[in-house]
Structures are given as structure tokens and as C-alpha cells.
């Protein structure tokens, strides 16, 4: 019996109409998540990573967003064409999301305990006092001291790290099979970042939960993820096991990313920031979107979109010069 993927995104395209412009945020993204897998989606701002996953959760505002093509299957079900009321039953229960900025992502006028308990009430699992008690248990589980008192507090009374723990508590409350974490540590201090990642990996280990980690931080990818998909200008440009991709990248962009951050093995060498700036998504460069900033670029990169090259089984890159990059250690 074949293992059905938990989440199957196939050729997803998303555009935004703003005024007269059309912004091509996601241009044919495909990936699969197996049960229990921790996948990282790596990219700069504007790469389309958050938008893709927002579309998976059906949280995009349509309009101005528009999904011209693509399918999303969660546990075999067609997510995008389901009636929204039906999909909402799965949200929070089987699939959940943690957002980047907990300060604005939590409702300022309701207590934290109320917002967590809401999950139990909404999905008919518990109500009233029982829901509140379970909320307190969750606060304890994510490491918030004095949870019974703190459950009555409001968002603004928590520190950044604590707030993020609250968001995580809400996300794991009903034991989802898939947790999507959209830059969960970007807004936090470095020390707190480590704590939160530790919490997330701990929770994942406890329950065999699959996790998608959206991030631009290579360190996070290296520490926690099994697989990584690198995104640029709305496409997945490289995908594979973390150790493979980060160890020997086969896409120019991944290579450039690795060269632009300090790494122990490169001690003594100069950092090379990536020249140029991320592309304007309303005017994506022809051929390979990365070619204006790529040191391996040649004429074909400007004229033709790169094919998907299987570097090794289970690993691919979309680069005309994948082999060259792979061998350029």
C-alpha cells in the first residue's frame, strides 16, 4: 500500500491584483509532506513562501488574491474546492498554523486562556470550565510558569517569547497532524529563538506531528528540519534532504545564500552578500528568475526557464548549471 502524502501541493500559482499591476507571487510551486516529516521552506521575503502556505490554509483574501491554477490535497481531500465551512472544521484540529508576530496575531481584547479554550469550544471537544482547565494545561505544556494565573492575562501582558508560546499552545491544542510555522522566531531575540525552536521540536517528537517550517534562517533549517525546499521568486528552485542541500547545494541561489552567512567551515573567508535585490514580482526576469544576480549565469539562463534536474534520487534543482554548482565546493 503506497504511503499517501499528508499534504500534496501540485503546480500552485497565485497572483495578486493591485491597482493596474499583477503581482506573480507564486509561480508553479509543488511539494509534498509525508506524515511525521519536518520540512523547511527557505527563502527571502518575496519568495512566495508565506503566500503558498496561506493558500494551503485558505487564509488568502480573494480578491485581491487569485489562484488561477493548482491543487492542494490534504489527506487526499481537495482543499481549494471544498466549501469553506467544511474546510474550517479541519483548521485548528488536523492542520494548524503558528504566525510570525504573536502580538498582532492574538486578539488584544480577550484573555489568553479564552483564546486557547476557544479551540475546544469551536470544535465541540469541551466547553465552559473544562475548556478553561484544558487551556491552563496547555499553557503549562508549552512552558509558561504559573499557568492558572496567566490564563486570565491579556496579550500585552506577555513578553515576546511567552506570546509565541501561547500561539504554539493554540496550534497544538487538538493534536494536529500537520503544524505550519510561519517564521515563528523571526520577531524574537536570539536566545528566545533557541528556546522556541526547542519547544517546537520537543512537541513534534512527542506526537509524531509533521511540521512545515517557513524561514529565512539557515541555522533553523539545519537544526530542526529533515527536508528543505528553497524558494525564489515564487518557485521551488531546489529541494532535498537538509544535509544534502546545505552540504552541497546544486542551485546557484542556494550556493549564494550559503556563502552570504557566516559558517564555521568557511572561517577565515570573506562573506559574499548576494548582489542586486530580490525581483519585483510584477516584473519577474525572463528565463531563470535568478539570472541577474547569479555568478554562474550565461545566455541560456536569460532566455530559457531552467528544467527540473534530478541531482540525486529524491533531490532536484532547477538550474541550467546545476552540475557546475554542485561541483563548485
Amino acid at each position: 500500500m503506497a504511503d499517501a502524502p499528508l499534504l500534496d501541493v501540485d503546480d500552485l500559482w497565485i497572483e495578486f491584483r493591485a491597482g493596474r499591476e499583477v503581482v506573480h507571487a507564486v509561480n508553479g510551486v509543488s511539494f509534498r509532506i509525508e506524515p511525521g516529516e519536518t520540512a523547511a521552506i527557505l527563502g527571502e521575503s518575496g519568495s512566495g513562501k508565506s503566500v503558498s502556505l496561506a493558500a494551503v490554509m485558505r487564509l488568502l483574501q480573494i480578491p485581491p488574491a487569485h489562484i488561477p491554477k493548482g491543487t492542494v490535497r490534504f489527506k487526499g481531500m481537495d482543499v481549494l474546492n471544498m466549501p469553506i465551512g467544511e474546510w474550517r472544521q479541519y483548521c485548528g484540529r488536523d492542520i494548524s498554523m503558528v504566525f510570525q508576530d504573536a502580538l498582532t496575531s492574538l486578539n488584544p481584547v480577550f484573555s489568553v486562556g479564552w483564546q486557547i479554550a476557544e479551540l475546544f469550544r469551536t470544535h465541540g471537544v469541551a466547553s465552559g470550565r473544562e475548556a478553561n482547565e484544558r487551556a491552563v494545561e496547555l499553557l503549562d505544556r508549552v512552558g509558561i510558569p504559573d499557568p492558572a494565573m496567566r490564563a486570565k492575562d491579556y496579550t500585552h501582558q506577555f513578553s515576546g517569547g511567552m506570546r509565541q508560546r501561547v500561539m504554539i499552545a493554540m496550534a497544538i491544542a487538538l493534536g494536529p497532524e500537520l503544524l505550519i510555522a510561519d517564521e515563528p522566531t523571526t520577531a524574537l531575540d536570539v536566545t528566545v529563538q533557541a528556546q522556541i525552536m526547542e519547544l517546537l521540536s520537543g512537541l513534534r517528537d512527542e506526537s509524531d506531528m509533521a511540521m512545515i517550517l517557513i524561514t529565512h534562517d539557515l541555522g533553523v533549517v539545519a537544526d530542526v528540519a529533515d527536508t528543505v525546499a528553497v524558494m525564489y521568486a515564487g518557485r521551488v528552485v531546489e529541494q532535498g534532504r537538509v544535509s544534502d542541500v546545505l552540504g552541497r547545494p546544486s542551485h546557484a541561489y542556494t550556493r549564494a545564500l550559503l556563502n552570504s552567512v557566516p559558517r564555521a567551515r568557511n572561517k577565515g573567508q570573506t562573506l559574499e552578500p548576494i548582489t542586486g535585490s530580490p525581483p519585483d514580482l510584477a516584473r519577474i526576469p525572463s528565463g531563470c528568475a535568478f539570472h541577474p544576480r547569479c555568478r554562474f549565469a550565461t545566455a541560456i539562463c536569460r532566455n530559457e526557464a531552467p528544467p527540473r534536474i534530478a541531482v540525486t534520487p529524491g533531490r532536484f534543482a532547477e538550474c541550467h548549471h546545476a552540475e557546475m554548482v554542485f561541483n563548485d565546493a
Binding site: E21, A25, S47, K49
Partner: protein, 304 residues
């Protein structure tokens, strides 16, 4: 709508203001109507003065709608046979004068006070703000009524009273803008180059605050017009033999069952004027806000 990942760039074609106006049909209609009123204001008494005061008992309380007695009687005749249309046009002068004068006075005084309050900060600034609080917290109509009671209800006093009730808004807006601009570098630069406080206020802060004030002015025009009409209707504003649209409604009220048009049309005139002011103000707000302007700048479906 936008997250960090979607930054839509909009190329501004930089359309001139009158083309932006034409893009919005209602705003164009409003502007045209106000232009028409301006013409009535300037030429009305000249051309229609006689018709407005000529008695013709044969057409007393003539209902509107027929051209039998000439096009002047299209809106009917009043209790003394005078042409409603002519009277409306002539009354526009007082109505518009009072509204415009009050608004401009409020803007100038409020603007100056606001600039002082913003720039001087503590002390004077606080006193001025409390003064604005007092004015804003009390029902403007009651305030106007009391002041006009104690002083005499002349046209000048009416303008002054109306201006005073509208002061606070200009005061606050100007002060807020001044406070914000004060922090900006170019003011420090001007002062470093030797510009005194007043110089800075006049040359640097003034021009930036002006567009906001203009938007408020158009709304205020409507508000003041309604206030004056209400006061005149109640018998406390304009007194006969002066005439404004508000007073015409009051006068027409006595004939409501026999000649409804006497009270009806002046009210329509008021409403059309205030509606135009409000619509134009909405348009101005959209145009001054760079984030909203694109709605008007976007090409129409049959543009090339």
C-alpha cells in the same frame, strides 16, 4: 492586503487634477453645481433681483411645473406672487456668503491658533487646547443660540459665532500636523540656517498643512451651511428683510398645506449645496491620499 511578500509597485502616471476630477462622475457633478452656485452668487442679485421682489398677485401661490407664466415661474410663486426661482437665486448670495466667510474665518484663526499651540508646546499650547476642548464638548447649536441671544443677531455676529463653533477642528488638525513636522529634519535644518520660529512656521510648515485643511474646508462648508440654515429656520439667525434659504423654509412652513413648494425648494437648494460639498470633500480625500489615488488613475476599460 499586502504582506511583506507582495509589494505591488504602481507607476503613477501623474494625471493633472482636472482629469482626476473627470474620472469621478459624482465629483464632477458636485463641482459643476458649486460652479453654478458661484455664478448665481455673483450675478444673481443683478439679473434676478427685480424678479425676486416684483409682486404679482395674479400668480400668488402658483404651483410649480408649468411654463404658462414664463420660465421664471417654473418653480412656482410665493404668497405674494414672486418667482420662487428668482428668490432662490438671490437668497443664494447671503447663504453662501455667510457659509464661506465663517469657514474661511474658522480656518485662518483655527489654523493660526493650531500652529501656535503646536509650535509653542507647553503653557500657551495647553491653554489653547483646553479652549478648543470647551468649544468642542458643547452642542454647537446651543452655543450659537446663546451667543446670538446676548449679542444681536446680525450677519456679522452670525458669521463670527459660526466660525467660533468650527474653530476646534482646524486647530487640532493644524496642531497635529505641526507636531509631526516639528520632528522632521528639514525644520531643524531651516533653524540651523538661522530661520526664526515665525519664518519656519510660514515657509515650511504652512504649505504642508494646507492640503489637509482644504479637505476639511469643503466638509466644513456643508456643516456651516446646515448650521446657519437651522439657526435661521429657528428664527435666531438671519432676520428679515435679509434672506437665506433657511429663512425661506421657515417662512414657507406656514403655508405647508396650501403651497408646499415654498418650504420644499429652499430645502432642496440647501441639500444640493451641502451634498456637493461633501462629495467634493470625499474626492479631495481620495486624491490627497497617495494610497487611494490609483483608484482614479487606473485606466478605464476603453483606454488605449
Amino acid at each position: 492586503m499586502t504582506t511583506a511578500e507582495q509589494e505591488a509597485l504602481i507607476i503613477r502616471r501623474g494625471l493633472p487634477w482636472w482629469r482626476l476630477l473627470l474620472r469621478d462622475r459624482f465629483a464632477t457633478a458636485a463641482a459643476l453645481w458649486l460652479l453654478f452656485l458661484a455664478v448665481c452668487f455673483l450675478l444673481g442679485p443683478e439679473f434676478f433681483g427685480k424678479a425676486a421682489t416684483t409682486l404679482n398677485l395674479r400668480v400668488r401661490n402658483l404651483p410649480p411645473g408649468s411654463l404658462e407664466h414664463g420660465w421664471l415661474m417654473i418653480l412656482g410663486g410665493d404668497a405674494l406672487g414672486r418667482s420662487m426661482l428668482a428668490r432662490l437665486i438671490v437668497a443664494s448670495q447671503n447663504t453662501l456668503t455667510i457659509a464661506l466667510s465663517a469657514v474661511i474665518m474658522a480656518m485662518i484663526i483655527g489654523g493660526i491658533l493650531g500652529m501656535i499651540a503646536g509650535y509653542m508646546g507647553r503653557g500657551i499650547g495647553h491653554i489653547i487646547m483646553r479652549f478648543a476642548d470647551i468649544l468642542q464638548s458643547f452642542p454647537s447649536l446651543l452655543l450659537a443660540v446663546v451667543v446670538l441671544y446676548v449679542l444681536e443677531p446680525s450677519v456679522t455676529n452670525l458669521i463670527i459665532v459660526l466660525a467660533i463653533t468650527r474653530l476646534p477642528i482646524y486647530l487640532r488638525v493644524t496642531r497635529a500636523e505641526v507636531l509631526e513636522i516639528r520632528e522632521r529634519v528639514f525644520v531643524d535644518a531651516a533653524r540651523a540656517l538661522g530661520g526664526g520660529r515665525y519664518h519656519v512656521l510660514r515657509r515650511h510648515i504652512g504649505p504642508v498643512v494646507a492640503p489637509t485643511l482644504l479637505t476639511i474646508l469643503t466638509v466644513d462648508f456643508s456643516i456651516v451651511m446646515l448650521a446657519e440654515s437651522s439657526l435661521s429656520f429657528l428664527g435666531i439667525g438671519i432676520q428679515a428683510p435679509e434672506i437665506t434659504w433657511g429663512l425661506m423654509v421657515a417662512q414657507g412652513r406656514n403655508y405647508l398645506s396650501q403651497a408646499w413648494w415654498l418650504a420644499f425648494f429652499p430645502g432642496v437648494a440647501i441639500m444640493l449645496a451641502t451634498l456637493s460639498g461633501n462629495i467634493l470633500s470625499n474626492w479631495l480625500r481620495i486624491v490627497s491620499d497617495p494610497e487611494q489615488r490609483w483608484r482614479l488613475e487606473a485606466p478605464r476599460k476603453n483606454d488605449g
